[in-house]
Symmetry: D2
Subunit: 341 residues, 4 copies
């Protein structure tokens, strides 16, 4: 068969490992021809693609980013492409499509599938917010990077009764912050699912200092929100990219805590270091397995499904199950994290 | 309640994180007193234990090894202790016991539990060979260390058509080797579950060189076995500790491949680096959750159970389910790994 | 002899390794008694100290921070202590003092030495700004952490023509930024020694995008300054700790570059992750050698000197040579870094 | 100018970083054309080379190995090439040659230079055994890898009074073992420069156990030698590649110590993991600076010289100074290492 593969959405450690695995399984075992579609759905629309051979994927297992590129596509263009999906597939000469991406990509994949394009999806997000799979690749790498940072902060903050605020990724869900916070032993964990009371955070830190501790580390997700009316710091301007002109929640929180506590508080903003670089071993294996099962799904004709990890096994699951709702941190996982506070 | 905690068997990254979590959850939330029993079941027998407070577990999250120590105990001594378990518990004044260990420990824990001692077990093994749990802490750290080594070998082996043989842990099961081999992209994976034909391995490497590749990496579990009669190298002597006097399978395989291929083959023996050092973020979180749920199990009276990960949740599972058989690599996981060969 | 040892100033990976080395060399070889003075010169003034034995320094080689603590002391108090240095030394019963610290500590050490207290100094700063020594411990660790971050950014920034701004430590000197910028292959390096023209930076990035590159990474020292009048962004308020209420230069630069380029620019603020955690191998060896030579210096009576690395050897050097001026990045090192722009 | 560049000898982290730096400096600043000669002097002899542009070296800063390849060349062939060096240079059309390699390469470079070929050399060896330069790139990376392994062993060896023997690279010199041994806090350091008495090593370990310590780590260079007559273990056979058929010194030492001590001793053989993978930040900067200065040397006409680090500066030094003798560990560095024993 001739199988197209594309990556869509923000990048994520492990994307290249999926591509490599699709090529290995498809070409070596099934004799498929794999066509790499450039820049996500844009390449599908514009007919930009190149064959990828076993040789081409050498070294991709450990490489961050995506060699196929990725691009944002307007909704209307996607709608047009869905209507013309058979022609687009015919133009490229592909029998099936493997689409690797996040929630938006899965939603689009479902539209294409419903319109008759044979699509299998592979879920991807460092945020771990896709439902119906235990976890996605990229998440463990993000947690690994965040945990290393918290580890390093722990030995330095002690000097002068100092508070460290580590801002981590997660606009809508707190998985990275919860997990890295637990792994690093942060003293406060603030996530979008649980609006926080800045004064309660300050009291907790003061209580900690009263017990003789010399520092406190607060892990905060970029999307964490103060309870209405509790963060007194005035909002700055927002620029054309939607960024606060005085920095994000990490910076704001550090300044606010300095004022409340009368102690130095310093922000650490890890930003995109969390979504770049070599994937962890776990993420490489998960990505490789997803690629393997995506090819098998194509050969089984399991279109409209995506590869989901449940327990130790990969299940082919209807894409619809993944896109109903965002997977947020449930109450019982939140309760468990209190062990570290 | 007064809860005893002990660690038993070989050490494993994450043991200290369990202890810390038990203390945090027990003392901070339930008002328990936690008694650290020294040197595993030996300390139980000899009545050696000390209280552990919240303060005592500072820094344990990231520390390898076990601060409680561990020791081997003869079977007969265990049998005696089982018969006298109530007295031993009374001597220490404990209401319940949390036993952290591998298969042997779980088996002992079941005996104690059957004899009336209130025991909850926490599974531990870097080998991932305990049944009824998706994974155990320590395994991800071992895989991480092994994968980093394979990564480093990949850029150096190219110079002179060289073969690298990486010997990894796993006497009875191939989980570490399979997983690190997939994560590192090893070209051959040899595990105890699948006896290997040395000449087939050599042919595969020769085929690889014929395709213009300049090196090959073979990941071999220490317990991997050649098919009867296929490894021509003569066995050396065995010393009092059961070690081959000429080194293990890694060294033997490298020598044999040199002879078969006429190319340089060098062994790398990672040995105990795989079971030491700071746990990965994933292992710390799993260990912390296991400790948390073990304390909850005690307070629920779920004795005779152990903490098992299934999917994303911790289930309290009868210890009996864990000790029926070793969890070996199943055929379908083995088939998936062929993607990297 | 009875030798006091203290650590002073901000913490730095390797401090504990010096303490360990002083104890090993002093007690094991010379039969000295080592007295650990708490909280830097404050402990000297207040007579707070405890003996440290070989046993006490187990594990210190790899531990960040300082087990002796550190505290800021007002200049007047130091002056008073200098005048009363003999009494203070007599109170503690020490024959000599080893003072480990940065420029301020070395200056104080010189005052004490001139006043007759037998002092040997060990230089410490992650900033590498102490003159008369090739390098100080802590610097390589800071560069290592910063370089890892830049490495990770390189594979993620490619997706959408994005600019990454990495703010690194260095208020007065650009050593960390220059070195990590070269090691990570940053496309722009901004340091305090070379005031920058924001529009020239923007043009350089535009030129890079014109050549088809998809991202740019700018490494900026926290103390880097725009040429007067070139950074149009208005200054925000400054809080009681001297921190900009909208974040530091990294945040400002990202916002300004977004405006100039019309492309997304995101800041990464590594902050104190650069001065915490386990020291690199190089820093551990340097710290160990410094401690070794400090003890030898005491036994040679080389008071008023500090341990300086020149080439591969440690030279005992008059403290005066270290404190005349800050060691800044010279023109020829700056020129070399252009290779990476 | 048209400058040829070649890499010769065993590979070493940082080789690619030198190539990248030569191309950046040569093409961007001087307008040179850089010709990459394949497989070391073999490519020079056989006229195999390709132009390398700025674009071609993207990503080389962090990549281990060498993109130019390397090959062993017989002495006679080198002699022939030296005699015909002008013709060989004319064939490739190069005005000058930058040769990157170890002692053998430097010796060859000197022969070519004496014969009239304009050559500048860049020293390379993970062993740090080249004289007249403080250090070479690759060494810090090797030490980093070895130190990480020792760190991990430290927390695992404690369980059962166990001895760990870590075999490190260094056939003729003990720099890696001495430095990583100090950095990791090994309890015994055995190097080629100091033949060891196995019974003295055993006594030292016994003494350590008597003091209540639960483990010991011995770092041994692959070229370390027992004092004549002191290692009782019989030599095995040597295969066609010169490898002991029962493994190297690490395996032998572990077995011998088991017999002498009656305690378990396990070998760890890091092998080629020490010379592969991403270079440390320090090695990348050193490699980059060497490449920069090599290009400058060509433009200054400083032929017959090599780039040497002395203190913080790169000096162009006659190649003759590098090849007179191997740089071994001097007595005073050995004495310093006793701090950790």
């Amino acid at each position: 068969m001739r199988i197209g593969v594309l990556t869509s959405g923000g990048d994520c450690p492990g994307l290249n490992a999926v591509i490599r695995s699709v090529v290995h399984r498809g070409t070596d075992v099934h004799g498929d021809e794999i066509l790499g579609i450039e820049d996500g759905f844009l390449g599908l629309i514009e007919g930009r693609a190149r064959p990828i051979t076993h040789e081409d994927v050498t070294g991709l297992l450990t490489l961050g980013g995506t060699v196929l590129g990725s691009a944002r596509v307007q909704r209307e263009k996607i709608r047009w492409a869905v209507e013309n999906s058979r022609e687009l597939a015919a133009n490229l000469g592909i029998d099936a499509l493997i689409a690797i991406g996040g929630e938006g990509t899965l939603t689009a994949a479902k539209l294409f599938s419903d319109a008759g394009l044979p699509v299998v999806a592979v879920p991807k997000t460092i945020d771990n917010d896709i439902d119906a799979t235990d976890v996605t690749f990229g998440f463990d790498t993000a947690v690994h990077v965040a945990t290393e940072a918290i580890d390093r902060l722990k030995t330095t903050a002690e000097s002068h009764q100092r508070v460290m605020v580590v801002e981590l990724m997660g606009r809508h869900t707190g998985w990275i912050t919860l997990t890295a916070g637990m792994a690093g032993g942060a003293h406060g964990i603030l996530i979008p699912e649980k609006p926080f009371d800045i004064e309660a955070v300050a009291r907790m830190i003061e209580e900690r200092f009263r017990r003789g501790k010399k520092f406190a580390i607060i892990a905060v997700a970029e999307g964490a929100q103060p309870l209405p009316g509790t963060l007194r710091f005035e909002h700055g301007q927002v620029d054309q990219f939607g960024h606060q002109t005085f920095g994000g929640i990490g910076t704001r929180l550090a300044i606010e805590l300095e004022n409340l506590l009368g102690k130095e508080a310093r922000p650490v903003i890890l930003g995109h270091t969390q979504r770049g670089g070599t994937p962890t071993a776990l993420d490489r294996v998960l990505a490789t397995r997803f690629g393997w099962h995506a090819v098998e799904a194509v050969h089984k004709g399991a279109y409209g499904h995506f590869t989901a990890l449940r327990g130790t096994e990969i299940h082919l699951t209807p894409i619809a199950d993944a896109v109903v709702q965002l997977k947020t941190v449930p109450q019982d996982r939140w309760t468990e994290s209190e062990a570290v506070l």
